[in-house]
């Protein structure tokens, strides 16, 4: 549904603004790499602009940090609506390796709402092109949340207080929480 909405809202070229809120510059280089003739994101209409006021899409790189939080939010507010936010790299998606240090607030979704994530450290330029193509509806999503069990759970002998009867069968409530 989001894809359909994207296609309706952004029927023509997407202009991207690239906002680094404290990353290591690795993802910036990969984004610029995706714009080179080898990967050529411009054939999809992607154009890098210098001001958030001209942009439809904000590419966030780097975690949300204490120092740049206000600047990131102001850049997001300056973009004309409708707007999309991409979180590129593991810093923007999840806070990165230094997610628990004092100056890092966490992923950028704590500051601005994120629509698409491209994990990787840094993501390959192909991965960025794949994310763009996912928005444009050219490719299908390839990842899905995996939840596997090694074994069916036997009767819990030590925590009978967590057992609950649901529709005639005994269920273990704690494993449902996960």
């Amino acid at each position: 549904m989001l894809k359909e909405l994207c296609r309706k809202m952004f029927p023509r070229s997407l202009w991207v603004y690239h906002a680094n809120s404290g990353g290591c510059n690795g993802c910036d280089i990969e984004v610029l790499n995706a714009l080179t003739p080898w990967y050529d994101a411009e054939r999809f209409g992607i154009k890098l602009v210098g001001s958030p006021r001209h942009a439809d899409v904000m590419l966030c790189q780097g975690p949300a940090m204490r120092a740049t939080e206000i600047a990131l939010r102001r850049a997001y507010d300056a973009m004309p609506s409708p707007k999309l936010v991409f979180a590129i790299g593991s810093c923007a998606g999840g806070g990165g390796i230094w997610h628990d240090t004092y100056s890092v607030l966490g992923p950028v979704e704590k500051v601005v709402p994120v629509d698409y994530y491209i994990p990787g450290c840094p993501p390959r330029p192909e991965a960025i092109v794949f994310g763009v193509a996912l928005v444009l509806g050219l490719v299908e999503k390839k990842v899905v949340d995996i939840h596997v069990k090694q074994d069916e759970f036997p009767i819990p002998r030590y925590h009978p207080e967590d057992l609950e009867e649901v529709d005639g069968t005994v269920k273990y409530t704690k494993s449902e929480v996960v």
Binding site: P37, D40, G94, H99, F130, L134, V139, D145, S175
Partner: protein
């Protein structure tokens, strides 16, 4: 720019040909040494939680919901694909695949959750304890990470505590 210079530029462009890769319409190849996202094999995993203890991004979480079931959750969102988990896994349950097309609109899609069955002693029905108290401090047999809030909890902190155990790494909770 004169006309001759323009003609020269056109000739140079024609000689170069087309270099753009037809990527999203045709699959791309990766280099041999490329590390993509790790794939966890539930059949091989013994639940030693060595990967969780050595993850630099601290994003492999382990929680023992009861004595027999250990839940190992790989978040995937801040993984840097360093391959340390695959390097140290004693059972080679983690393989670094060459998947890089992980762009998604829902960040939980890149996660993996394993529910592992932990063996107990057949006579007493409990897991083995450490021989000395010092080792018990160092290597706790039971770990409680906060899977709901996707938070890593320090091992030295007391667990089985209803209120929030840590305030200093409260960033994941807001």
């Amino acid at each position: 720019m004169s006309l001759a210079a323009k003609i020269k530029e056109v000739l140079i462009c024609l000689r170069a040909g087309r270099v753009t890769l037809p990527y999203p319409f045709e699959p791309a190849t990766v280099p041999k040494a490329f590390r993509g996202r790790p794939i966890f094999d539930v059949e091989r995993c013994v639940g030693c939680a060595g990967c969780a203890n050595n993850c630099p991004a601290r994003e492999i979480l382990v929680e023992d919901v009861c004595q027999e079931v250990r839940i190992l959750k790989y978040l995937g969102r801040r993984c840097t694909y360093c391959g340390r988990c695959a390097d140290l896994c004693p059972e080679n349950a983690i393989t670094m695949s060459n998947e890089f097309e992980t762009a998604t609109d829902e960040i939980s899609d890149v996660g993996q959750t394993l529910e592992l069955f932990m063996g107990t002693c057949q006579r007493c029905g409990r897991c083995f304890t450490s021989p000395t108290p010092l080792e018990e401090l160092k290597l706790k047999g039971y770990r409680i990470d906060d899977l709901m809030n996707e938070r890593w909890v320090f091992r030295s902190k007391p667990f089985l505590n209803e209120e929030k155990t840590v305030d200093d790494i409260d960033i994941e909770l807001d």
